[in-house]
Every structure is written in structure tokens, then in C-alpha cells.
């Protein structure tokens, strides 16, 4: 009897799963997320998963087209026209799409954009990050004759403004501020207020309405003009987004790539463990498995039974693995010593050992895929211990029985001894550390590896408690402002190498301010050359994004941009899927 019950239980469960599979496969795309997005408030956006979810619910003025790698108009009708005012202000004029509407049919207007920007600056809301990031937008000018036209006035002049002013979800004014109370305040007024709860009754009422709506966990109370709405969210289990049956962008012909929304349902499954996720993919409980480690990717790709059922993609991302020197340490002040030690890293073997050879080696911080700005005349960093010995001697070191010491020193000679810090939770860093230690030890240079917990690491790096650090650096194809990494202004907060010269400071400022491609190219190439000569840091390679998907799933546009795919464009290559032309 007991066996009958067990069989019955198994049968019920199995049939339930298989039934759902059969009927819904052509409608649903199931994607793995490692963690929950935690907070779906457009003001907070605490992680990449939250950003991806908000991109389904809301529209920005501009959005990244992963097919071309450029920012293109989404809610905006076209790219903004840029007008420089004097030498300290920039004006960017936008026009919203005529077709763009909210779910209730009301048009998306410039007043909604103004409301959104003011909400990002409103004190008392959980908008600290957004407030700081958008603080350069000082005013918004509305055009009384054209309700979809507006101009953003920005403090400073930088080519990146075009992207940054268009990259935030636009929110409906009527939902939170039906009485238009925020219209009484200018953007600058709100931005100048301290970020503490305001005594102003109108503002505190708005904050209270926001808190009551709790859009962080009830995004339906702050509906966006994106293609999807959130149907279900069980924290740490799954999120289901369903496509709106009538979405404003359906009327656009041809539909811009960034406004495509083909799957009728997108379900994100929170599966922390990669092995479980890989098995779920093989058992058809999952359709898209992104951010795969090299080991799992290899295992899946080499398995004969999965080869026929899955598709595999690996593309170089914009995440750079790099090492940095503490240039304020007496032993590392000389660039020759840094160059010598840089030759003890073996990027080629590290790439093979940690990434199966996938990824992209680089000579500089600029992605080699960017042919306009990457300085291809620079040599790639190579492993060359002989050169290390030679350079160390040139730098005034001499090898003794106890190790390397300065040949001439007025005081007690400080031996060449390296302490390397990196995050303790990533095996890639540990591999880099062990490879470097092995190479250095062979030359008689003692290396102490200091794997450190993430938040303690930032403090240790800021305090200069290291000789070499290893880290990943996330960039984009459009980010050419190296202020945070190498400018004297960023010492010690984010310029952990503490490297700076007048020349590099000027170059960094000039690169950030220059929009003309030819001039920018010249400056960037010079900057890359100086950084390689001075070697405050060693770029090792750009990491790959790996993706495994069900073979029938197409048009995912795997790319090196976060999150590595474009879910809204995906289609099933089986009868019943929505044809692309119908969108």
C-alpha cells in the first residue's frame, strides 16, 4: 500500500510539471537569477537583477541596443540635441515619442520626466544613490507650446551627458502626485535641500504617499510604461512578468530593437547554486542559464547528451581583471620595480586556467574591441621572469642570500617583499595570487597572500594596507572617465594605487571633457601609453560572459553587456511562438 502512495505522489508531481511544460513552453521564457532583486523601486536599484526587472516595467529616454552596442532612443523620439552654454553648462533637448502612453492611455509628457527627476532629488526618500548620480542635472525647461519637448540643463560639459541624462526610468506623475505639488519646486531647489526628511508639509506628504505605496515590493502601485507588468513575486523564489496585451510600442513600425517585447511571459527563477541551475536546464525546468562559471560551462558543453539540446555562447565582457600597485609604498615607488613585478603575472596561462581561454587579453583599460580608442601599438603584458630580474637590477635592487635589497641605501635596507590583497570569495583572485606567488618565490621575492572579506578590503585598500591588489573592474564601452581610478582627486577613496601625476590628471580631465572622436582618440592613446610605462596597474584580461540556453530559444542576442543577453527579444523556434513581425 505504501508503495502505491509513493507512486501516486510521484505521478501527481511529475504530471503537473510536464503538463505545464507542454502548454506553456511556447509562451514562457524561464531565466536563472542567482539572487533576488530585493527591491523594485526605481529610486533604489540595488543590483543588476533589479535593473533588469525595472527595464521590463519602465522605459527610459534612451536604452542600450545590445545588437549594435549603442544607446538609442526609447521613450525619446531621437537622440538629444546638445548645446554648450558658456564653459560650464550643457543643455540637452529631448522630444518624447508621440505614441508613448501610460497603461490608462494618458500620454507620456515632459511633465512626467520633470516629476521623475524631482522625485529622484526629493529629500526623505530612499534615493541617496540616484540623488548623487543625477545631481549634475540642475534644471528642466518645459516647452509650453510642445508638451512632449523639454530641455535638461546640466552642470559641466561632458560627452557622457548624452547617455547619463537618458538613463533612468520615467515615472507617471499622476500616480504619486495627482495634485502636482512637486511642480512648485525647481529641480535645483530640491537638489540643494539636505537629504533628510523635510519639514515642508507638501514634500513630507509626498514622501508619505511614496512610503505607503511601497513600490519597492509593489511595483504595480507605480506602474511604468514598459512592456511588462509584474504578475507574481515570491521573494527568493521567482518573479513572473507578463506582457501587456496592448502596449504603446506595438503601434510603432518598424519596432525599434529596444522596444521589442516578444515573450508573453518572462519568469526569473532564483537558483543560488550553479549545479542545481545546470541540472534544471538539462531537465527543461529552465531555458536560460547566464553567468556560467568556466567549469560548469565546460561540463555542459562536453556532455554528449546536452550538446543536442542546448546552445552555448561565450563573449568577452567589459569586466576587467586587473592588479594594482600601491605606488606610495617605498619599495614600489619606482616604475621600473612595478614593471618588473608586472612581468610575474602570466595573463595567458591565467586566462586558460580560470576561463578556459575565453575572454580577451588587453594592454590597457580600454576594451580591445573598441578599435577607435584602444591603443593597439602597446604590447600585451607577458610573463617574463628574466626581464623581471633585469628590470629589478636596473631599478637598483640586488639579490642576496636573504632576498632582494636596494643596492644603495642610506638607511636600513627594506627588502623586496610583497603583500597581495584580494577578495576572499572569488577563486579567480586566489588563482592569480597563487600564480604570482609561485613566480615571485622562484626569484626569491617573498609574497604574502591576504584574501580579505569584501567590505574590509575596501577599507584596507583605502588605508594603503597592501602592496598589490587584485580586483575586477566593471566598465562599459562608453566609459572613458578614469577619474575614479587614477586621478589625484580620488585618492584614497577609489584611487587605491595612489598614483597620480600632473600629466595624467590633465589627460584624465581632458578625456572626460572631449567629445570630438579624433581628439579623444589621441588623448586616450597617449593616456594608455603613459599608464603602461608607469605601470600603476596591470590589466590582465577582460572576463567572458557565458550563457547556455535551450536550443529552440532564439534571438537572445548574447553580448558582453550586462546581463549578457536581451530577454525581451527572445523567441521560441516552435509552432505557436509569436512571430517577430507581429510585434
Amino acid at each position: 500500500m505504501k508503495y502505491v502512495w509513493i507512486c501516486l505522489l510521484l505521478a501527481i508531481g511529475s504530471s503537473a510539471c510536464s503538463q505545464l511544460d507542454k502548454h506553456q513552453k511556447h509562451k514562457i521564457v524561464r531565466i536563472r537569477w542567482v539572487r533576488d532583486p530585493e527591491n523594485l523601486s526605481p529610486l533604489v536599484q540595488p543590483n543588476q537583477n533589479a535593473v533588469d526587472a525595472l527595464n521590463l516595467l519602465h522605459c527610459s529616454l534612451l536604452q542600450l541596443d545590445v545588437a549594435t552596442g549603442t544607446h538609442v532612443p526609447a521613450l525619446a523620439d531621437s537622440l538629444p540635441s546638445v548645446h554648450l552654454v558658456g564653459d560650464s553648462l550643457t543643455e540637452l533637448s529631448y522630444q518624447l515619442r508621440r505614441a508613448a502612453t501610460w497603461d490608462n492611455g494618458r500620454p507620456v509628457l515632459a511633465t512626467d520626466v520633470a516629476f521623475t527627476l524631482k522625485l529622484y532629488q526629493c529629500p526623505g526618500l530612499p534615493n541617496e544613490r540616484a540623488r548623487a548620480q543625477l545631481s549634475f542635472i540642475r534644471a528642466i525647461k518645459l516647452d509650453t507650446a510642445a508638451p512632449r519637448r523639454f530641455t535638461l540643463v546640466c552642470r559641466g560639459q561632458a560627452p557622457d551627458f548624452r547617455l547619463e541624462t537618458g538613463d533612468f526610468p520615467v515615472l507617471p506623475e499622476t500616480t504619486l502626485d495627482a495634485k502636482h505639488t512637486l511642480r512648485r519646486y525647481s529641480l535645483a531647489q530640491l537638489a540643494n535641500l539636505p537629504g533628510l526628511p523635510s519639514r515642508d508639509t507638501a514634500l513630507s506628504a509626498l514622501v508619505s504617499r511614496y512610503q505607503h505605496a511601497d513600490p519597492s515590493h509593489h511595483p504595480e502601485r507605480l506602474p511604468g510604461c514598459g512592456a511588462y507588468r509584474l504578475r507574481a513575486w515570491e521573494i527568493d523564489r521567482f518573479l513572473t512578468f507578463v506582457r501587456k496585451p496592448h502596449w504603446w510600442a506595438d503601434t510603432l513600425r518598424p519596432t525599434p530593437f529596444v522596444l521589442q517585447a516578444r515573450p508573453r511571459q518572462l519568469t526569473y527563477l532564483i537558483i543560488p547554486d550553479e549545479t542545481s541551475a545546470a541540472l534544471a536546464l538539462r531537465r527543461h525546468e529552465l531555458d536560460v542559464l547566464p553567468q556560467l562559471t568556466a567549469r560548469a560551462f565546460k561540463h555542459l558543453r562536453e556532455d554528449d547528451s546536452t550538446k543536442q539540446e542546448l546552445s552555448f555562447y561565450s563573449l568577452a565582457s567589459y569586466e576587467l581583471l586587473m592588479a594594482g600597485f600601491n605606488t606610495r609604498q617605498p619599495i614600489l615607488r619606482d616604475s621600473l620595480t612595478r614593471q618588473a613585478l608586472a612581468r610575474l603575472f602570466d595573463p595567458a596561462k591565467l586566462l586558460q586556467a580560470t576561463q578556459l581561454g575565453q575572454g580577451l587579453r588587453t594592454a590597457s583599460l580600454v576594451h580591445p574591441g573598441n578599435r577607435r580608442y584602444y591603443n593597439d601599438s602597446l604590447a600585451l603584458p607577458i610573463y617574463d621572469p628574466r626581464q623581471t630580474v633585469s628590470l629589478l637590477k636596473q631599478a637598483g635592487w640586488q639579490r642576496q642570500a636573504t632576498g632582494w635589497v636596494p643596492a644603495k641605501s642610506k638607511h636600513t635596507p627594506q627588502p623586496l617583499k610583497i603583500r597581495m590583497r584580494y577578495r576572499a570569495d572569488d577563486a579567480v583572485f586566489a588563482t592569480v595570487g597563487l600564480q604570482f606567488k609561485s613566480a615571485a618565490t622562484a626569484l626569491g621575492i617573498p609574497v604574502e597572500l591576504l584574501p580579505t572579506e569584501a567590505s574590509s578590503l575596501t577599507t584596507a585598500l583605502q588605508e594603503g594596507d597592501f602592496d598589490i591588489y587584485v580586483r575586477k573592474l566593471s566598465s562599459t564601452p562608453f566609459a572613458f572617465d578614469f577619474t575614479m581610478l587614477l586621478h589625484s582627486r580620488a585618492i584614497p577613496k577609489s584611487n587605491f594605487t595612489k598614483f597620480s601625476t600632473r600629466t595624467t590628471d590633465r589627460l584624465i580631465d581632458a578625456i572626460a571633457a572631449t567629445g570630438a572622436p579624433a581628439q579623444k582618440r589621441k588623448l586616450l592613446r597617449r593616456f594608455q601609453t603613459i599608464i603602461q610605462q608607469q605601470t600603476p596597474l596591470v590589466p590582465l584580461f577582460f572576463l567572458p560572459y557565458r550563457l547556455a540556453t535551450a536550443r529552440e530559444l532564439q534571438h537572445l542576442y548574447p553580448s558582453g553587456y550586462k546581463p549578457g543577453y536581451y530577454a525581451a527579444a527572445a523567441t521560441w523556434n516552435i509552432a505557436g511562438s509569436i512571430p517577430a513581425a507581429a510585434q
Binding site: 505522489l9 510521484l10 501527481i12 508531481g13 511529475s14 503537473a16 510539471c17 511544460d21 524561464r30 527591491n39 540595488p46 543590483n47 529629500p123 530612499p126 541617496e128 544613490r129 540623488r131 548623487a132 548620480q133 561632458a158 547619463e164 539636505p194 537629504g195 519597492s216 515590493h217 515570491e234 521573494i235 527568493d236 523564489r237 521567482f238 513572473t240 519568469t267 527563477l269 532564483i270 537558483i271 543560488p272 547554486d273 549545479t275 542545481s276 541551475a277 541540472l279 534544471a280 538539462r282 531537465r283 525546468e285 529552465l286 556532455d303 547528451s305 569584501a454 567590505s455 575596501t458 577599507t459 580586483r471 575586477k472 573592474l473 566593471s474 566609459a479 572617465d481 575614479m484 572626460a512
Partner: protein, 350 residues
């Protein structure tokens, strides 16, 4: 008995409060990275990263209540022996006052109250840990009897040795390896492919009971296998010890059947070691759920606490410590009570 129980509960509550208070104060004093974790990913090459903005950091600290003094008194400076009194305007007082009103605080990460978060997580953890505790205890009793020389002892001599070896080996296997091993065995298209690696989200409108139970099989089995040796092996040893006692010899001489001898005479006297193990079973299970819930994608208490610790979400961590300490202390009190029931010679001291 009632007075003893009340006293035990009071002691458990006090000890849990003291532990949580210590963790609260240490987490606030040593807190590093909370603002960094919330304002910036830390790896991004951004032009205007929020982490550089002192104004943003100050606003965040104020919103989270981190700008207030940690405790009633603080030292004026590191090198000074003078102390400053802050009255009730301090973080600890707010936390304690909230606790007395049944509020565990708010999560830094999503601003949600911690009580409902813990309750939601317990919906997954309690059935998991409860089923595992019951199953492990029953199986341990059965295995203990078999290993000590049960009714089929004569035909199971080599089998008992093998079973002992298996249990001893199990004791050395980490929980994550057990979990992955079961996953590879039962949810692998190349092996048995009987159970789902992930199936709960297929039907967001309502979880099918069958699917839910299927999903629980492997996590429960993992926990049972993880704690089984520490329950079964001491019990078997205690039973073997009892079987050598004089009263057993007397009973056997009187013709008491072997099965009855074990269950009615030896087992009650061999129970204390099992109860000792049982006291540590609940915390062991809770620790096991951290791994099991991550591997099997269950949103329970273990995973909640592990992720909160990794993200420096200290209010959730402190609440978790409070719950864990409470469970541990209740487990000890329960073991004491069961001791008294199992052995009337033991008196519960007040």
C-alpha cells in the same frame, strides 16, 4: 514542573537577549561597508559614483538610524577615559524597545520589517527541519536497535558492521556534498532523473501539494543523512552497554524475548545519550538548512541569514541570532524535560 518550565523559558529568553545584544553592539561598532554595499557596487568605473558623495552617505546613515550613538554610553575618544551619557537616544535602546513591542527592526537592504520576513522564511524551514528531525529520530531509533543487535541480530552480523561503517562514513561527509550527491543521483538526466532540480515556480498561482512534497524529498533526506550518525551511533553504543548489564542478564534468564528485552528494558535506560544528541539536533538542523536551502533553492531562514550576513544586513543577522539562540536554548530545556521523563531518578533543579 510548570514552575521549572517557566524558569527555563525565562533563562532561555535572558540568554538569547544577552547573545543578541552582544551581536548587535559588535555589529554596530565594527560595522564597515554598510554604506558602500548600499551606495555602490564597488567595482564600477563610474563618473559620478555615489560612494564618493559624503552627503549621500550622511543621508543614508540618517535614514538607517546609524548616525545615532550605538549605546547609552560611549567613550569620548579612543585615548580618553571619560564617558558620555546619551540617554535613550541610542541605537540599542531603539532596538530593545522595538523588541519588547515585538518588532525585530527593518532590513537595510529592502527596508522591509524583519518579523514578516522571518515568518515567511520559517514557512519553508519549519516543515523542512521538522520533517527531518522526526524522520532522523525515528530512523536513528530503528538503526540503533538494529546495530545493537535487534531481533534479526543473528542474520545481520555482517550487515550491522556494514551499516556501522556507512554511518561512520556519513559522519565525515560535509552537508553540501551530501546535497550535491543526492542532486546528481535523483535529479540528473544521466542518473535516476526522478525528482525536480527546481520546480516550484512552474505554477505561480498555487503550489501543487505533490510538487511541493517532491521538492522537499531531497532537502529532508540530506538533513536526515547529515544528523543520522550523531543520533544513531551513540544510541547503539548505549544500547550495547545496557545489554551487558546484570538486569538484562536476569531478564534474559527469565525468558524475556530478545526484541522485548531491547525495547522495553534496554532502550529506556539507553535514551539519555539520544536526548543529549537531540538537544544539539535543532541547531545542527538549522546550520544544515543554510547549505540545503541554497543548494535546493528554498527561501528559508538559513538562506536568509547567510545572504544577510554576506550583504552586511545587520538587523536581519541580529534577528537571526536571536531566533537561533532561542532555538538552541529551548532545545536544551526540552532535553532536560525529556531526561526527567525518561529517568524518574533525575530531579529538575530550580
Amino acid at each position: 514542573m510548570r514552575r521549572w518550565l517557566l524558569l527555563q523559558l525565562g533563562r532561555a529568553g535572558l540568554a538569547a537577549w544577552a547573545t543578541a545584544s552582544l551581536v548587535f553592539i559588535l555589529s554596530r561598532l565594527l560595522a564597515v561597508g554598510t554604506e558602500d554595499a548600499m551606495l555602490s557596487s564597488g567595482n564600477d568605473l563610474q563618473v559620478r559614483t555615489a560612494s564618493t558623495s559624503a552627503v549621500a552617505r550622511q543621508a543614508l546613515r540618517q535614514r538607517l538610524g546609524l548616525d545615532e550613538p550605538v549605546f547609552y554610553v560611549t567613550r569620548i575618544s579612543r585615548n580618553s577615559a571619560s564617558w558620555r551619557w546619551h540617554g535613550t537616544h541610542n541605537q540599542y535602546h531603539h532596538w530593545l524597545a522595538g523588541l519588547l513591542h515585538g518588532q525585530l527592526g527593518w532590513s537595510y537592504r529592502d527596508g522591509q520589517p524583519i518579523g514578516p520576513k522571518l515568518r515567511t522564511a520559517l514557512v519553508y524551514t519549519l516543515p523542512l527541519a521538522g520533517l527531518a528531525a522526526v524522520a532522523a529520530t525515528l530512523v536513528a531509533l530503528a538503526l540503533g536497535l538494529v546495530l545493537a543487535g535487534g531481533p534479526l541480530a543473528a542474520s545481520l552480523t555482517s550487515g550491522r558492521a556494514a551499516l556501522h561503517l556507512v554511518l561512520s562514513s556519513l559522519q565525515g561527509i560535509p552537508v553540501f556534498m551530501l546535497a550535491l550527491g543526492l542532486l546528481f543521483l535523483f535529479a540528473n538526466p544521466d542518473a535516476l532523473d526522478l525528482l525536480p532540480a527546481y520546480s516550484l515556480a512552474d505554477n505561480p498561482d498555487g503550489l501543487l501539494l505533490g510538487a511541493y512534497l517532491l521538492q522537499l524529498i531531497m532537502p529532508v533526506l540530506t538533513l536526515v543523512l547529515a544528523v543520522l550518525p550523531e543520533l544513531a551511533l551513540p544510541l547503539a553504543a548505549a544500547l550495547r552497554h545496557e545489554l551487558r548489564a546484570d538486569y538484562v542478564t536476569t531478564a534474559r534468564a527469565k525468558g524475556v524475548p530478545a526484541a522485548s528485552l531491547l525495547r522495553r528494558h534496554a532502550l529506556p535506560n539507553a535514551l539519555p545519550p539520544l536526548l543529549t544528541s537531540f538537544a544539539s539536533l535543532l541547531p545542527s538542523l538549522l546550520a544544515g538548512t543554510v547549505v540545503v536551502e541554497s543548494v535546493f533553492s528554498l527561501p528559508g531562514v538559513g538562506r536568509l541569514l547567510a545572504e544577510a550576513a554576506a550583504a552586511h544586513d545587520y538587523p536581519v543577522v541580529v534577528a537571526g541570532v536571536l531566533v537561533t539562540a532561542g532555538v538552541r536554548l529551548l532545545g536544551l530545556a526540552l532535553a532536560d524535560a525529556l531526561y526527567a521523563l525518561a529517568d524518574p531518578r533525575i530531579r529538575l533543579a530550580l
